[in-house]
Symmetry: C2
Subunit: 103 residues, 2 copies
């Protein structure tokens, strides 16, 4: 199982800034190993972020997104203590869900 | 027509960090004006970022995303001078496409 995401959600005025750092190798499937064999694709495809259960943002990553993907965005309507949940699913259908409270 | 996005793409080692600031009112469709009438929904729904013509990331925003949305992510395989193009489409099918070179 993948390591937990690091999620930071900080309220400033009416805006909550969410920063997510995922732990994932993000192999695009086009790289070769030392023997010339293709390294199988293994990357996060879908990401969804919710605020108190409502979807705020979805993202679809290509295999070009960096190892240990970082994603940041802002939304309105958050309050301190509200729950932010982020879920990713990769091309092998592995998934990981983590949460943080707005600070 | 909406104002241009501000796009910054900076290479560091093997990673390119892309920061996008869009200009959009992002009305969720749930707010009321002073007379109590609902303010019609008007928000960016779909965002797509490409590197040299290949899609790196797509995002789907809800109406909760902040006015003048900010989005940041990293990808690998970029080189200085490569073209980053970002396009958004809102719920009225208006769209805007802007580009920047990786610095």
């Amino acid at each position: 199982m993948a390591d937990p995401m690091r999620i930071r959600a900080a309220l400033s005025g009416e805006e909550t800034t969410v920063r997510v750092l995922m732990s994932h190798p993000m192999e695009p499937g086009t790289r070769k190993d030392a023997s010339g064999a293709l390294i199988p694709a293994h990357f996060i495809k879908d990401v969804e972020a919710t605020h108190n259960g409502k979807t705020v943002l979805k993202a679809v990553f290509s295999g070009a997104v960096s190892q240990n993907p970082f994603l940041s965005f802002k939304f309105k309507g958050g309050a301190k203590g509200d729950k932010i949940v982020v879920k990713w699913v990769d091309n092998k259908s592995d998934s990981r869900t983590d949460e943080a409270a707005i600070a």
